[in-house]
Symmetry: C2
Subunit: 211 residues, 2 copies
DNA sequence: GACAAAACAATATGACCATATTGTTTTATG
DNA sequence: CATAAAACAATATGGTCATATTGTTTTGTC
């Protein structure tokens, strides 16, 4: 038996590493596989079996780390939201503090964050959580933390004024929601050029230029 | 068996076009039940059996009118999109041609169109179609028709100038996408007051007031 | 009134899914 | 190195799903 056992090769794995470290790597690997599956086939059409196959691990291994599907989904959502926060932290440093900073950030965010498999997977999870009480109870708090973390991160980027705080929050929320809806509506047609035009229109509106 | 004569008993039954009419009523009834199910439990968690129970019809009846699930979903999407177009046609007449027309329309649309079970069901279908090629091929054209119908309907409502056409399209698209994303993101938290604030902020931005 | 097609109904089928169960290997630590 | 816990693996189970199948009733037309 065990002819086709999906073992990790030990040549690359750190021997001195701890059990905990290996466990974290396995969890990450499974979450990444889940991300792929959710993006490719949608949340409900992705079975545990498919995630297992995509990750190249055994069903038992997945079950050990994520006893239920909700456990896996919550972990995947947390993983994706955490990566998004890290993206903003990085992007913030790379963007010059000129007057186009905001528009550049929006456009870059669209390209590098929203039009990715990672965001597609997150969208699947969010929509699934809408009609699944248990899942929503797990995911909603993480989503709220994510929103706050990003707002805190970008607070000093937008020039704004005195009422910049509330204004920033509103503009960020509108932008985020608009991009999400753009994926759902116009993404279904698949016209990337048209979507970019909409993004540009949003930047114009949000920065008050060209009016 | 049971060869009773159908010659009499015409007083109570519909006189003409009975079969076609009854068929349309049945189809509508099933689509409405599907809408309920999709909104309450999500697309993939709604089984044909549940739609059948909600509609109070037999499985055979549903199968007769919609041989496959995709047939049912396409019909439901078409039904919902058609109702949305009718909503805009009605709303357009009710709104005075003052300078607040646009803002009023946005707010009314949010209340009466987006925060409804009908739109929740549509959202479920759109997201499901993202990762289901067959379903997308059926739904995407209907969605495109819907978008064009609404744009044509509202073309004369926004003052706009020469470039009003392109500008209107962009503003409508952004607003529509923003509301959809608002449902997905902030709707998960369930704070209706916060969402209304975002809508107000969008109206301010789109109309250029208070800047 | 005969007759075919449409409409409606009830049951059957085969696939798939989440998870439970049971067994084996690896790792940390005394 | 003994040993217990953690990690990993293979199979089993009960339920649900979409759809196929087959049978019955209703309706339009000749």
């Amino acid at each position: 038996m065990l002819m086709t056992s999906p073992r990790q090769d030990k040549s690359t794995a750190a021997p001195a590493g701890k059990r905990e470290e290996k466990s974290a790597a396995m969890r990450r690997r499974i979450c990444e596989a889940a991300t792929e599956c959710f993006a490719a086939r949608g949340y409900h059409r992705s079975s545990i079996k498919q995630v297992v196959d995509a990750a190249g691990v055994s069903l038992g291994a997945l079950q050990h780390h994520f006893p239920s599907k909700d456990d896996l989904v919550e972990a995947t959502a947390t993983h994706l939201l955490g990566r998004s926060v890290k993206w903003f932290q990085r992007a913030k440093l790379n963007i010059a503090q000129d007057k186009n900073a905001f528009g550049d950030m929006i456009r870059q965010s669209w390209r590098e964050q929203f039009t990715t498999d990672e965001y597609a997977a997150l969208l699947e999870i969010l929509v699934a959580a809408r009609t699944d009480e248990d899942l929503r109870a797990r995911v909603a708090p993480r989503l709220d933390d994510w929103r706050r973390a990003i707002e805190a991160e970008l607070r000093d980027l937008v020039p704004g004024g005195d009422d910049g705080a509330g204004e920033l929050e509103a503009v960020l929320t509108i932008g985020r929601c608009m991009m999400t809806g753009l994926l759902v509506h116009d993404g279904l047609i698949g016209d990337a050029g048209h979507m970019r035009k909409v993004i540009d229109a949003w930047v114009r509106l949000a920065t008050g230029s060209g009016r």
